[in-house]
């Protein structure tokens, strides 16, 4: 395609790629190296313990709990987000005028733009047992304060709610835009065949969007692994360890509790492997060539 050999690709890609490679590979190599040692922060001597950290992980009750919590979190947030996104997206597409769509689109982007920390605070405040805006009706009716963060299951659901609030509404805008890119003819043909509105969406529109929707679900899956900010602010992993996800546990091991950096590193390596595998799937799926 190019008439002449130009060095532009090398000149343009080279520096960026170099920086990226260094910034990415050095920590990765280090993480693997550290995980094979028994370092602790603040202690000078370390030794090579090879895979004993990993072995220890699998008998660590708290680690296994964090894996369980992470899995529950993943399933919960991804499915709720996709459901909310598809529902709101189709409702907007069907029942909202173009001007309303614009207004709603801008509104729905606000939650996801907020720093996770801010979103956590905003809702922690709104859900406060004593003077939260949302809990007030319950208090007014029953006279009892509603502490959503005291019960393990409710706490998880509440934090998940905030996550879905941020991402589900944003994805709804994306679903709306996706629906708008569809050609109108299949819809018209379905209407002529006397299909009811919801059938048109369920059987015509959404199947046509299967590929991008699955991509979105994958993206959310990976994003959900980074729920740390929300959980840290809202519950700190509690009550107990009922909202302690993998990254919270890794953080507490490496940072707060004992500075057991090698142990935390082994978890980090596992997470890296998991997300790389997941990403490779996404890549292969969206680029079949």
């Amino acid at each position: 395609m190019r008439s002449h050999k130009t060095r532009l690709p090398a000149v343009f890609i080279g520096p960026g790629l170099l920086v990226l490679a260094v910034l990415a590979l050095v920590p990765t190599v280090f993480a693997i190296a550290i995980s094979l040692q028994d370092r602790e922060l603040g202690q000078a001597d370390t030794g090579w313990v090879w895979f004993s950290n990993y072995v220890q992980l699998f008998s660590d009750r708290r680690f296994l709990n964090s894996v369980r919590v992470s899995l529950v979190w993943e399933v919960l947030t991804v499915s709720a987000t996709m459901a909310l996104a598809v529902l709101m997206g189709t409702l907007m597409h069907r029942c909202a005028t173009p001007r309303w769509r614009q207004v709603l689109s801008m509104l729905f982007i606000v939650p996801v733009l907020l720093p996770r920390v801010s979103a956590a605070f905003v809702w922690k405040f709104a859900f406060h047992p004593l003077f939260g805006l949302i809990t007030w009706p319950y208090k007014a009716i029953t006279g009892e304060p509603l502490d959503l963060f005291a019960d393990p299951v409710l706490a998880l659901l509440t934090v998940a709610f905030v996550d879905v609030w941020q991402w589900g509404l944003f994805f709804a805008v994306i679903v709306l835009k996706l629906l708008e890119t569809l050609p109108p003819q299949p819809f018209e043909a379905a209407r002529l065949d006397h299909a009811k509105t919801w059938e048109v969406y369920a059987y015509v529109a959404l199947p046509m969007l299967k590929a991008p929707l699955i991509s979105l679900a994958f993206v959310k899956m990976v994003e959900s692994l980074r729920a740390f900010d929300l959980i840290y602010v809202m519950t700190r992993g509690g009550p107990g360890i009922s909202t302690e996800t993998l990254d919270m546990y890794a953080f507490s091991q490496g940072f707060i509790e004992s500075g057991r950096i090698s142990y935390a590193s082994s978890m980090a390596v596992l997470m890296m492997v998991a997300s790389t595998v997941a990403f490779t799937y996404i890549w292969k799926w969206t680029k079949p060539s």
Partner: protein
């Protein structure tokens, strides 16, 4: 590298000389040994169906595609390894390819600015070019504010201002509606009369080709089918493909069996009809079959003089064209099309008998499609 590095005086006179140009994409060869000499001031049209390679060859001329093999000379100079701006060419793209973020004026002047032409001269050249193309009022607008025809004129102005040795047009009118296309076609023709710049013009529309070209290069699958003036191509198509491609409505083509008769005549029979031809006009020795080609305008209704030859059938379809009607006459699944004056007033289902003008009949080899017409055969 080719062995031909020095050109004879006659060859040096051609504005463009293509010698055995080849284009390969990896393992696939898409252009095969393309040879062509374009004379100074000539308007040459590359014509052919999609995928025939016409745009690829044009882009090789422009320097936008690498030349896989062969030599290209422009203005007597070998340009294979030269970038576009050093070849003395200017190009008009199918989608106009105007710079959307610049005004019309900047669009036109963009190429000159790079050459550090003094501002005064740029201004005067812009004025000249925009006056010729009627763009004075639009100079400060952005391309998105202009209509398709206006954008096309800006694209032409951008090419004109560089006073190139060769104009290259890549299907410039395909994106315009029919009426505008007609108008712009005439503008381009007039422009060529004024500027007389050597032009290579690519199109898939044979009407454009026939009306604009000094010579037409008809391409198929990366090979030249025929090079000639519009008249030559129309009257003496070298193959069944060319014959079927050129001319509207398209030529009737059907396979017939060859039978010898006395008096130097042959009769071709098949598909419910027969035609008598002068055997000396065609290379028919030893052939049992041949493909008959006759244009709808070269068939007429049977008169008393026709002696049993001709095609019989019933009227299957009538297409009203204004002064004429295009009638499909068929029998037993085979149809033949004929142009008749509207006044003849044929009716659906009416039985008709058609006779071909013997002088206007073409014959082609059944397997290769090559024309069997002898070079010395007279057509009128």
């Amino acid at each position: 590298m080719s062995a031909i590095t020095s050109l004879s005086p006659e060859q040096k006179m051609s504005a463009i000389r293509c010698h055995h140009l080849i284009k390969r994409y990896g393992e696939t060869q898409v252009v095969h040994a393309f040879d062509l000499d374009v004379a100074d001031n000539e308007f040459v049209v590359f014509l052919g169906p999609s995928g025939c390679g016409k745009s690829t060859i044009l882009r090789m001329l422009a320097g936008l595609e690498d030349i896989s093999g062969g030599d290209l000379h422009i203005g007597g100079q070998r340009v294979n390894d030269l970038p576009p701006q050093e070849r003395g060419i200017a190009m008009v793209f199918q989608n106009y390819a105007l710079y959307p973020h610049m005004t019309v004026r900047d669009n036109i002047a963009f190429g000159l600015k790079r050459l550090k032409v003094p501002k005064a001269e740029i201004d005067s050249r812009i004025k000249e070019v925009s006056d010729t193309l009627g763009l004075e009022r639009y100079l400060q607008r952005k391309p998105t504010e202009l209509s398709g025809g206006q954008q096309q004129r800006v694209a032409i102005a951008r090419a004109m201002i560089k006073t190139p040795k060769v104009f290259l047009f890549d299907e410039p009118l395909s994106n315009l509606d029919a009426k505008l296309r007609n108008h712009m076609r005439i503008e381009i023709a007039k422009l060529h009369q004024t500027l007389k710049t050597t032009t290579v013009y690519v199109t898939h529309d044979q009407h454009e080709a026939m009306t604009l070209a000094d010579r037409i290069v008809l391409l198929r699958d990366g090979r030249i089918e025929q090079v000639g003036t519009p008249q030559e191509i129309f009257e003496r198509p070298r193959s069944a493909f060319v014959a079927g491609f050129i001319g509207t409505p398209p030529m009737n083509l059907r396979e017939m069996a060859v039978h010898g008769l006395d008096g130097g005549q042959c009769e071709l029979r098949g598909g419910g009809g027969s035609v008598r031809v002068d055997a000396r006009r065609f290379a028919l020795e030893g052939r049992a079959r041949a493909t008959l080609g006759v244009r709808p305008a070269h068939l007429h209704l049977e008169t008393a003089k026709s002696n049993g030859e001709g095609f019989a059938g019933e009227v299957q379809l009538i297409e009203y064209l204004g002064n004429e009607v295009l009638v499909s006459v068929g029998q037993g699944g085979e149809e033949i099309a004929v142009l008749l004056p509207s006044a003849a007033g044929p009716r659906l289902g009416e039985p008709l008998r058609l006779v071909a003008d013997a002088q206007q009949v073409h014959l082609f080899d059944v397997a290769t499609g090559a024309s069997l017409l002898r070079p010395d055969a007279v057509l009128h």
